[in-house]
Symmetry: C2
Subunit: 271 residues, 2 copies
């Protein structure tokens, strides 16, 4: 039993979609969320910079005495060294492996599609991880860098012409190839899953990492005997590295509700 | 006479369009360029964060012993405190005032349009500066945040359907209002000036800050007797805060030529 909070971090606010899933599945747990809004996005940066920033984000969460850490960022999940969790003395989980496991379980044909940020695709991590779970798999990947600013600028309605036009270009490899599952490998992408689905054949299953990560987090807490014994609802503390003035507006896109809690500004450089 | 280099900085690589203009107008000058590619873009961040980052960028250039500094970033130009240059003992120039002066000179009707990043529009600096130069002016502003990722992702051809569709939305206030000049208040926007022009009536003059800033820099050097006495061509040193691997590809969009010089990675946090 452990009443300390679960730490969740992301390059920005996309990881709040994971917080939303965690709250549903683990309602008695406290959560500390850190969004590196002062340096978002990570998906266009080099691997060295992504690792440097992620380590600072993790150091910040550790300073908040968390019992487990979730990297709720597709780009961090694909770029952290594979042995990274081994250096931590608390459970650690990213969004890569839970999504890959769900995709490998669900795919009949073994042809698995992945859309993600440029840095995630460049890392090759999806291909490596999918083939480690299912050696016969064929992986088709495409980077969709513009989806991130489109979502953050609110171009998310299912009939949005701009996002539809961009999606048409990005998703053409999945219309030609006969993948039967498609991993939405960035926390921004589930927000426009309707548009993505409209561009693809009906029989392609979309994998949203959020649901899978929340299940993985629950099993990690169980395994390490870290469930909270609280009977009341847990609360979430929000920290960001840029001025929180525009936080609520973008946060509600991902969280599905308004943020009524305080949002605290932290200086992540100094960590 | 002073053979030290001119320092130029930007949130990323957009400021290279200013370097291109400087090279034309001041061919014997050395230039030190710093692009904060590890934290780009600035245009979506808060004023506090923009000022903090800009001061670090300026500190880096000072460490390179420059004789003058140009803030080649629209967002920095509109968010630095108005008295900021007074703390510096070398000439300082941003892209706001030269563009505003050109617009005020060129406008017949006194109705002046401005497109810029969200942070620039929020700052109110264009309105204040335009009315300081021309008190009768009417200013119409609109933020165009998606133009930045569209340009950086290469959606720049004049017939690009996505950029045209986004531009149509952003530029509608300038079709209704009868502005006769439009300031392109972000270094990314001149790259798609063809698309912007196609959306507007022929009689609207587009102001590209690059040309104006280069002229301003030349007059500052003259005023302070800082011209280089070199007769050979000056060279440019490039510094960035993210891994330079993808530098050349994006840099050539703004610079108009390939970058053959070395590009050096610096740790801007430590400044």
């Amino acid at each position: 039993v452990d009443n300390r909070p679960i730490g969740v971090f992301d390059s920005g606010l996309g990881g709040l979609s994971i917080v939303s899933e965690l709250r549903k599945l683990l309602p008695h747990e406290d959560i500390v969320y850190f969004g590196d809004t002062g340096r978002v996005p990570y998906g266009t940066r080099s691997r060295e910079t992504i690792i440097k920033y992620a380590k600072q984000d993790i150091a910040f969460l550790r300073s908040k005495n968390v019992k487990a850490i979730i990297a709720a960022c597709g780009t961090v999940s694909t770029n952290l060294p594979e042995d990274y969790p081994s250096g931590l003395d608390i459970p650690f989980c990213d969004i890569l492996r839970p999504a890959v496991e769900a995709a490998c379980r669900s795919s009949v044909s073994g042809k698995i599609g992945v859309i993600a940020t440029t840095a995630s695709v460049k890392s090759g991590a999806y291909g490596r991880t999918i083939r480690a779970v299912r050696p016969d798999a064929v992986v088709v990947e495409n980077a969709c860098p513009l989806f991130v600013p489109l979502v953050e600028n609110g171009y998310i309605e299912r009939d949005n012409k701009v996002t539809k036009l961009v999606a048409q270009g990005y998703l053409s490899p999945f219309r030609k190839e006969t993948v039967d599952v498609l991993i939405l490998g960035c926390t921004h992408f589930p927000i426009i899953s309707g548009i993505i689905a409209d561009m693809l054949q009906d029989q392609i299953l979309l994998i949203d990492p959020g649901t899978e990560v929340a299940k993985k987090a629950r099993s990690l807490l169980q395994e390490h005997n870290l469930f909270s014994c609280r009977e009341s609802e847990g609360h979430t503390d929000f920290y960001v590295s840029d001025n929180p003035s525009s936080f609520s507006q973008i946060a509600s896109i991902f969280l599905g509700t308004e943020v009524t809690e305080d949002v605290v500004l932290v200086d992540v450089d100094s960590l």
